[in-house]
Amino acid sequence: MSRTRFRLAGATIALMLAAVAGCSGGEGVDVDGNDTAGAGGVLNAAIGGEPDQLDPHKTSAYYSFQVLENVFDTLVEPDANLEMKPALATEWTTSEDQLTWTFTLREGVTFSDGSPLTADDVVYSYNRIIDEKLNNAYKFGTVKSIEATDPKTVVVTLTAPTPNLLANLGGFKGVAIVQKANVESGEITTKPVGSGPFAVDDYSSGDSIRLVRNDNYWGEKPQLDGLRFTFVSDPTVALQNLRGGEVHWTDNLPPQQVPALLDGDDPSVRSVPSTDYWYLALNQARKPYDDVNVRRAVAFALDREAITKAAKFGLATVNQTAIPQNSAFYYEYAPYTHDVSQATQLLDQAGVNGLTMDLMVTSEYPETVTAAQVVASQLAAVGITVEIRTLDFAQWLDEQGAGTFDSFMLGWLGNIDPDEFYYAQHHSDGTFNFHEYANPDVDRLLDQARTETDQAARKQQYEQVAKQIVDDASYIYLYNPDVAQGWSKQVSGYEVRTDRAIRFRDVALAR
C-alpha cells in the first residue's frame, strides 16, 4: 500500500516538474488572444470588474458600458466635447411648438448579423424601455409617443418641450437601439446584437468577453480584428499585465502610481478632467443640518485641495459647483474659502457646539473612504466630531434610502445635461434628493429650465440654480476627478474621453 502511494507521489512530482518546466520555457509571457489575430490584431483590454449582463437597457454597471460602447449605437452620440452629433440618425427637425421631433435614419444600416436596422427597431427599443419601466425610463419622461412613419423616419411626440432630448436619446449606450429577435430569444444578456463597430463573439463568464470586428458596420471599418475584455479587479495586477504585455489597455491603474506613470511613455498614461463630481451631502431632515448656517460652516471648514490630494493624489480639480470647467454649462462660483474662524462663527450663530456628525462612505468607492479621513480631521478643527461609517454599497444605498444618516459622500458620474443631475438631486420631488433639500425658488427654476428652449435663457436659469444650491449648501461639492487610462506603445489612435466612454473603433495595434 505504502509503496503504491510513494509511486503515486513520484508520478505527481514528475508531472509537476514537467508542468513547471513547460511554463518556464524561456519565451516569457504569452499574449492571450493572438491565436485569432489577423492583420489588425486583437486588442486586450483589462477592465476592473465583470459586467453584470450585456443587455444595455437593463444593466447599470459601468463595466457593462465599457464593452457595450463598442457594440451598440444610439440615434445621436456625444463627440469629444460632449455635443450631440449624428450617429444612426443623420438629421433631425423640431416642430414650431417644440413638441414633435422628426429623425431621419442613416441609409443602409444593418445589425451585425446582417439584418436591416429600421425605424421599427428604434420604436421597439424606446418602447421597451418605457413599457417595461427599465433603468432609463426616466429619460423618456416627456415622451408621449414614438412612431415610425416610414422605414427611415422616426417621429417622437412630447408632452412638453424637452431641450435636452438629444442628450437623453444619445448620452450613453443605455438607450441603444436593440434588435427585437435578440431580446425575445433572451440572448441579449450574454450575446447582444448591435449595429456598432464590433460584435460580441464569445462571453466566458468570470473570465473574458471577446468582440470581433463588425464587417457590416456603417461607419469607417475598425482596423482591429477584435477586442478581448478581461476582468482584473486588482489595480496592481492590471498594471503588471499592462507592463508585461498581456494587456494593451486598462483603466484600472493604482491611483497612487498615476502621477508617476503620467511622466513615462511606456505604458502611455493619459488623464483628462472628467464630467463626474464628488460631494458631501448633509441630511436636512435631521437637526442641526436643517440650519443653513451649520451647512455653510461645514463648507467653510473644508480644505478642498487637501481632500483632493488625499483622495485622488492631486488628479482632480476642486470645484464648488457640480459642473466641470470644460462644460458649456460651467459657472464660476466659489464663495467658500478654507476659513476656520468663519466656520466657528457660523456654528456659534446656529447655537451649535460639540456636534457629533455621522459620515457614511462606501468601500465600493475607496476615494470616499480616504476623503472621509481628511474631512474628519478638518471638521475636528471647528469642533465637529466626525464618526465615519464605511459600508458596502448595498447597505449604503439601503441607509441612504431610509434616510438614516447625518451625512454621506458620493459621486455622480458621466454628466452631460444639468437637468439630469440637478433635478434628481435638488428638486424637492427629485428621485435622488435623499438629503431632503427643498427650496421653492430652486424648484421653480428647475421646472422652468427643463422646458426652456432658448439655450441662452436656459444657461442663465441653471446659473441661478447653481448659485442657490451652493449658497444653501444643499450639496457641498468637492471636486471633479480626472479620468486616467493607460495603454501600451503598440496602441495608437486612442483618446481618453471626459465622459469615460471607451471607444476602440479608431484604434490600431502595431505588432
Partner: protein, 314 residues
Amino acid sequence: MARFVIRRLLQSAVVLLGVTLVVFLLLQLVPGDPVRVALGTRFDPQTYEALRARAGLDQPLAVQYFDYLRRALTGDLGVSFRSGRPVTAIVLERLPATLSLAVTAVVFALVVAVPLGIVSAIRSGSLVDHAARVFSQFGVSVPDFWMGIMGILLFSGVLGWLPPSGYVALTDDPGRWASHVALPAVTVGLVTASILTRFIRSSMLEVLSEDYVRTAEAKGLRTRVVVSRHVLRNALIPVVTVVAVQLASLLGGVIVIEVLFAWPGIGRLTYDAVAARDYPVLQGAVLLVAALFLLVNLLVDILYARLDPRITVR
C-alpha cells in the same frame, strides 16, 4: 457497503435541505437590497417596483422559499438578479476553474508537506525540523493575498516567467493553463502545505512513540523500513481526513486569491454575488459547495475502510 452509501446520501439530502433554509434565512438578515444595487445611483421608484416584481422579491418570504425549493428539486436553481441567466448554468461553468485550482494546490501542498513532515518528525530537533517549523509558521501566519501580490511582483514583474493573472482552460491549452495556474496554486498551496506539514509531523511523532514501533526497532529492522512499513501507514490515516477537509474547503473557492488573480471560479462568483446581493447565485454557489463537501467526506469515509482494516463501513 451499498447500504452505507445510500444511507449517507439520504443524510446528505437532509443536510442540503438544511443548508438551503439557513442560507435563505441568513440572506434575509443581511442588510442591502439587490434591486437598489442593480439600479445604482440612478434611482427611480417606478423602475424599482418593476425590477422588484420581475425578480419575484415582492412575494412573501415563505412563497419565495418554497418556490425556490420546488424548482431546485428539478435542478433549476433560479435566475440571477444581476444577469438574468440561469443560476445552475452560471455555477456549473465556474466549477472547472475552481476544481483545477484546488486540485493543483493540494497536489503541490502534498508534494511539499509529506517529505517535509516526515523528515521533520524523524529528525526531530534537527536543522531541517527547525526550518520546516519556520516554514509552516510563515505559511499559516502570512496573509495569502500578500503572498500572491509578492509572487506576482517577483515571478511576473521582475523575472517575467509567469503571467500575472488570467485563466486558460486545461482542456483548451494545457501548457498555458499550467503557466496561469502556477502562481495562484502555489500561493494557496503554501498555506495548505504549512497546515499539512505541522499535522504530518505531529501525527508521525505520535506513531513513533507507539509500542509496536519500538518492537519493530527491537527486531532489528532498519529505520527506513520501520518508517515506511509501520509508521507511515498509520500516521497518514488521519492525514487523509485533513487533506480531504482542505480540498473540500478549497473547492468552495479561495475567494481572495481568485479575485486577486482574476481566476473565474466559484470564489470570485461568490464575491461578486455578495457585492450585488445576488441571492439566487449566492444560494446556488453555497449549495454546490455544500454538496461537494458532503461528497468529499463520503469518499473519505469509504477510503478509510480501505486504508485501515480496523474500520468497516456499515
